[in-house]
Subunit: 486 residues, 4 copies
Amino acid sequence: MKTSQEYIESLRKLNLVVYMFGKRVKNVVDDPIIRPSLNAVAMTYALAANPEYEDIMTATSHITGKKINRFTHIHRSVDDLVKKSKMGRLMGAFTGCCFQRCVGMDALNALSMTTYDIDAKHGTEYNKRFLKYLEYVQENDLVCDGAMTDPKGDRSLPPHKQQDPDLFLRVVEQRPDGIIVRGAKAHQTGAVNSHEVIVMPTISMREEDRDYAVSFALPSDTSGITYVMGRQSCDTRKLEKGKIDRGNVIFGGHEALIIFDDVFVPWDRVFMFREHDFSGQLVEQFASYHRQSYACKVGVGDVLIGAAQTAAEFNGADRASHVKDKIIEMNHLNETLYCGCIACASEGHCEPSGTYYVDPLLANVHKQNITRYPYEIARLAQDIAGGLMVTMPSEEDLRSSEIGKFVEKYFRGKSGVPMEHRMRILRLIENLTMGTAAVGYLTESMHGAGSPQAQRIMISRLAGMEDKKNKAKRLCGIIKDEDTLK
Amino acid sequence: MKTSQEYIESLRKLNLVVYMFGKRVKNVVDDPIIRPSLNAVAMTYALAANPEYEDIMTATSHITGKKINRFTHIHRSVDDLVKKSKMGRLMGAFTGCCFQRCVGMDALNALSMTTYDIDAKHGTEYNKRFLKYLEYVQENDLVCDGAMTDPKGDRSLPPHKQQDPDLFLRVVEQRPDGIIVRGAKAHQTGAVNSHEVIVMPTISMREEDRDYAVSFALPSDTSGITYVMGRQSCDTRKLEKGKIDRGNVIFGGHEALIIFDDVFVPWDRVFMFREHDFSGQLVEQFASYHRQSYACKVGVGDVLIGAAQTAAEFNGADRASHVKDKIIEMNHLNETLYCGCIACASEGHCEPSGTYYVDPLLANVHKQNITRYPYEIARLAQDIAGGLMVTMPSEEDLRSSEIGKFVEKYFRGKSGVPMEHRMRILRLIENLTMGTAAVGYLTESMHGAGSPQAQRIMISRLAGMEDKKNKAKRLCGIIKDEDTLK
Amino acid sequence: MKTSQEYIESLRKLNLVVYMFGKRVKNVVDDPIIRPSLNAVAMTYALAANPEYEDIMTATSHITGKKINRFTHIHRSVDDLVKKSKMGRLMGAFTGCCFQRCVGMDALNALSMTTYDIDAKHGTEYNKRFLKYLEYVQENDLVCDGAMTDPKGDRSLPPHKQQDPDLFLRVVEQRPDGIIVRGAKAHQTGAVNSHEVIVMPTISMREEDRDYAVSFALPSDTSGITYVMGRQSCDTRKLEKGKIDRGNVIFGGHEALIIFDDVFVPWDRVFMFREHDFSGQLVEQFASYHRQSYACKVGVGDVLIGAAQTAAEFNGADRASHVKDKIIEMNHLNETLYCGCIACASEGHCEPSGTYYVDPLLANVHKQNITRYPYEIARLAQDIAGGLMVTMPSEEDLRSSEIGKFVEKYFRGKSGVPMEHRMRILRLIENLTMGTAAVGYLTESMHGAGSPQAQRIMISRLAGMEDKKNKAKRLCGIIKDEDTLK
Amino acid sequence: MKTSQEYIESLRKLNLVVYMFGKRVKNVVDDPIIRPSLNAVAMTYALAANPEYEDIMTATSHITGKKINRFTHIHRSVDDLVKKSKMGRLMGAFTGCCFQRCVGMDALNALSMTTYDIDAKHGTEYNKRFLKYLEYVQENDLVCDGAMTDPKGDRSLPPHKQQDPDLFLRVVEQRPDGIIVRGAKAHQTGAVNSHEVIVMPTISMREEDRDYAVSFALPSDTSGITYVMGRQSCDTRKLEKGKIDRGNVIFGGHEALIIFDDVFVPWDRVFMFREHDFSGQLVEQFASYHRQSYACKVGVGDVLIGAAQTAAEFNGADRASHVKDKIIEMNHLNETLYCGCIACASEGHCEPSGTYYVDPLLANVHKQNITRYPYEIARLAQDIAGGLMVTMPSEEDLRSSEIGKFVEKYFRGKSGVPMEHRMRILRLIENLTMGTAAVGYLTESMHGAGSPQAQRIMISRLAGMEDKKNKAKRLCGIIKDEDTLK
């Protein structure tokens, strides 16, 4: 396993083509806007090396038998699934943001099942290729980007009906040594902090869309791949001199558009090729795993709850019964979310490939709650924080020789608490509810791993309505069952 | 293990003193108002004897090694805890009501821990007595009532300050062969369907309240014990000729006041005697187990969801997108509840006594949701059912030679569905949302195993706020941590 | 104007054909199940005669200039509309149930506009007929049932496509002196306490359904009309000896199916005849008025809030901060509802007929909230009431010479409060949240004046989306507007 | 009345001491961060000059009889109060942000009543002074900042107990010609766009705090007054070259800390001086008016709803039933808010001073909903917008000669919609839910005019619980009322 320093150094060796604010980023690793997101990924290495968290952060490879970072592990038991959820909460609480590495883990696990199932039906050998690739990832402790979401264009049309056929990523040429692909993947979390990018299709497909049914993995700096950074609320605060106004002074997240401009993929990196009948399964399995991964928001919720409580203590309001009740409500909602990610793991089962799979109904239910409760937790945090969170002067005002004294004097809270501490904790709440971290804690909670309606469709399919109707009909006598009590 | 028929016969042998509507009930077992509740308990025997449900409904006694009904089992593993939750949902779905037997199971499990811990501290031998009693319960496959809630009088006063000292159950005399107790237990679910009543204190206590710190078990027909049946919404429909208007034509629940009018308890049935320092622990452990037990409402929710879907199909509205969306929402809420009871079990742990104990934070979180979601599920069910649910004529109108034809003609729904079926399913929804079953599905969900505020206090205590504050302080730089990434 | 006693006597003169529990009701006025609902209607007379409420309860007829009961008045100003909302809240608070007379008022007001508009288009003279009829109603201070809802059969089919053509009420014969109609109206609130029944179509219609586009008024005891009483949760408690268990010891509501078995209507009582193009307008106008009428639930909410507060005081819990907060929340929700019925009235306007019409968007928004908040207020009331509400023995147990003393002893709350008072207030909460009054406060709130989806469709139509889109486009620069600031 | 250009020119003549990012702002009017907020205030002039909105935006002065901007008007009728609410919605919809001028209007109206009432009790002549000041404001069509909120320090302590006595603004010296004040006012909306600042105390006070019971008005550029701008989420985007990323390309809001460093106030500008017994009334009356003023958020909600609908149309998702339903829900919530601000106005009444005052219960209820619904509307908007809202590249990427083509190609939505339009509408939604406008639409909705708990306390006081309890007691027979029906 790599150390966090080794991880950072390994990124320096990559030659990524990254654009931000219309310009090529020369030094990705040290870019002030990108670096906090890299720091967050680095924590997946740092905590794995910490004996206190080893049990959760590492696992034993079922291929090599070696100790590996859990983010590269294929789940081999219910215990693995439960620990994955706990790892998400732990990492969320340590970084207060999106740490970006779960998406690759989920892609690997989904492919471990789908490649196996394609082979079983079609006699292909994707699983063999995949396992070889997996070993490479595990041995080198790599960060993989799991790239699923296509731009999609007009949402009411399938891939082949789009005016521009590239709005879903597709195979444009088949060659003896591999394939050429073209298209893009949007909303790619942590893309430029990754060594590898694993591409998957984004919807179930029919015969007509077979050229879009493709999955593969490539080094992130493969020729023809370009990254365009997405901008986030308050992103440029990272360019400012002081750190306080950032809220989270260490960590952040990022998302990027990845463009594949006629990129070559060798066959040994191809895991699905025109098997459109498995596109839906791969999407569904990845989605279920990734919906479980929103365990991380419970950890971010921990930070926000802790920040709200701290803010209340700093201004002397923490004994008010309504404040205490709001903190309880925040915890209640956050732990309800925790129940979801634990339950879908604890109810997991073994698939034919030997990989353990979460309960898909409960994983969808969990994610659906993730699209709701963080917003309410954030609302309650803003309630407790007070209006100062959005009217507070900048750190530069505090440091100003002319007016710093006024800022210091008039924003004092409870006696004994340095005014700067109050500023810091309020900026953290701003960061989590409106700033860069709100992108992850709120909007990504809404749309990541599928928008709310996607989960509702799955819940509808998996709810077992026939059994429920029969239970009801029996109790009211529509179905007669004389022997009920025997 | 007893069969359901043997269970019913065993109840006939009891000589219970039961009052209802101001009169002594002569034949408890065949009383038309009580019988449906007895039928529900009988299902705990019937399903245990059904090979299909054996894995969930039975367990292996850790005392005798024999196969026993899980309702008499002491949890010896996380798997036991998870199966308990599944048993609750299963039973709820099969009966559509409160099946009453979980409260005794929870009392037994809590006592298995608390008696052990009292002995460890005070050198008593309660645990030995308890295990002997447990074996008796297991061998005879008995139904136990777990009696905790005292009448409490003025809620703002402790037991010894009440105007009437009997408003909490207490020891009024200590004798060489046992003790004499006086008082009452309110809201006793399934009391008159029980062979045994296990009494526990209802709050943590101080030295001044030591006479109230008492726990014991007695046969339900012990001299001096009187039961007064609580009445329920729509209870007397069970006295009517037809069965349709009951909604649930087979099952029901009941709750009673149990009065202990100077009742003698022999020492070998006493499990706590003035150890006020353990009163709080017993309450808390029983409460956590019992909060988990509200897994049953998920099963009742299954029935209500099935009924709502059926009602929609019967009037041709099931294809409307808003109806489909409401059914999804009902399922989503119901499965969120399921996540709670699974997670608190899956996160359980072993206590010194060897008994497995649920995660108390998550058990409280689960119960808190139970005080909310069934109400919303019921509201959505009424939305889908339509107003006819509360304006429909009686079964007697349908059977009437004079106007039956009009009822039949004008309340027809979709072609091909017998009007009587529509009447039945709507009456079931009425039963679950306003009638006898609403007592269990709604109000008992609110107050059973502790009212909402009781859970909030526990959540507040167990939420681990110090760690959360530290996480927040580190991220915003109040706590400096230079080595974060190492 | 009639006194309440004169009203009751006037009902004795009617010869209604009423069925309940399969049998003809001989004496409708004194029937113990029906009487409380009649008492509620009688309060519309009693309060009108009370000088304290005269300003709200009465108005000046625009036809005769005489003082009339506001329930027979045509709104001639915004002030009239606002007073109508206030009258609803007042009556709700005085009766704690549905007082049934608003539906006729809403029918009269809707017809005052639609008949005028039909005449304007088709050169008919419905409005003249209507005004003559209105004068008769005002002069005799009559209660009218406004009968709109047809049985509807299969919800996915229009009237003429139903297997049984009578599932919507229709004209079966046209005669020189009038028409013959056949069909039924369901969910008819207060039907058997009415002097008159005013029939309206239930949906917008096309040419094919013209025989269903009919509106008329008839005396309630016209030959061929039969009433079948709907049963309600806990209805038969009114047959019991004591009154406590009823909760509301004076008032109630009722709903009935009205069957028109080839009934003759003379032309001067016909207000629409095959003008299918006005069917939708009549439905919409009646619905908007009737959605406003759910002002009454604010009054019932007042009672429930008062009852919850009283229950908390009776058991010594009223000082707990969480109880105080829940009472605040109940009030907040109830007053939010009040805002809706005031706002839709205050924003009313004058129609061509001279009748004032509520703002239809806000009336729909108000009703939509009525389908939600009473359920939450009821949930909070059950929270505060405590579990005793559903486990309490019957009044007969309290009166019992054998066990009355135990019931008295053990259900005492706070010192100084008679136990019977506690029983009474809890039974009232039961009545409002699960019993006969819950039919009106909850389920009727859901479906009366149209089910929730009906309001959503209207909100969608009336929301003015084009203007909203333009506002947004201008602000983000899609629409250029250089002169914004000029 | 001034034109918007005259308003802007009048600001240029002020000599304000404003700091931002630690430095003195040289040119306040043209500062790129401040200017959008000034543009929003300017719209209060522009719309008043627009004949289409004249009826709502202007009024007739009760002092001079001249036509004046409604923002300087004292409400003299219910119609005035209703028009104030409509003006708020109108302005919110036109600017999509906080337009800052209502706070001065609310201060003027509250002072028109409180000065009158102080005079009546204490024989002072504050009202005369005030009316003279009012005439000056009306004649010159001035913008006033209403400055109430003190920094408050430790929330659990009253003013005179604070470690630093200046944490509430106070009189430090009384002179023959006036007074000297010291302290600060926080969260001052639109402060640097104002001609005048009107100071009021922030809480009810006792004798010990009499030096803090002071109200007065000063020109905004009075010597000794310093402004420190609060920073907002995404504030520095206004410094960037392009305008798209701002979301709202024209308007914004701002809030500032105002420091009074021993500032002199002449007696004719003093409206309260140590009358601590009227401090609470002034706070309450200002608060009720200002809670009504949150009518503006309904207008901002209009913009957000319009933007969400546009975004759905741009990506071809607007026909999906779940999208339509979410738009309906957004409208429903927004119109429920509208009902609140209309109802509290429509139920207003005349105070002794002749000023019309809103219904304070309903105004508090309205504001309480404002602390909730905008958050849910924002959540739904983010749901409809899709994840692209937070992952989209910058405008500079779109303009880039290197990668602009990719951004253009891959973020195309529905055919025919320019990609830039899609970018613009998503940036507007970002602006309203996370960016500078979210400060006003969300956090200010939470805390402006008092945090949620402040409204709950008022609701508790004004709810009329005695009457409600009596209504309940009468219905269940605790209060006997034999003559109910007479």
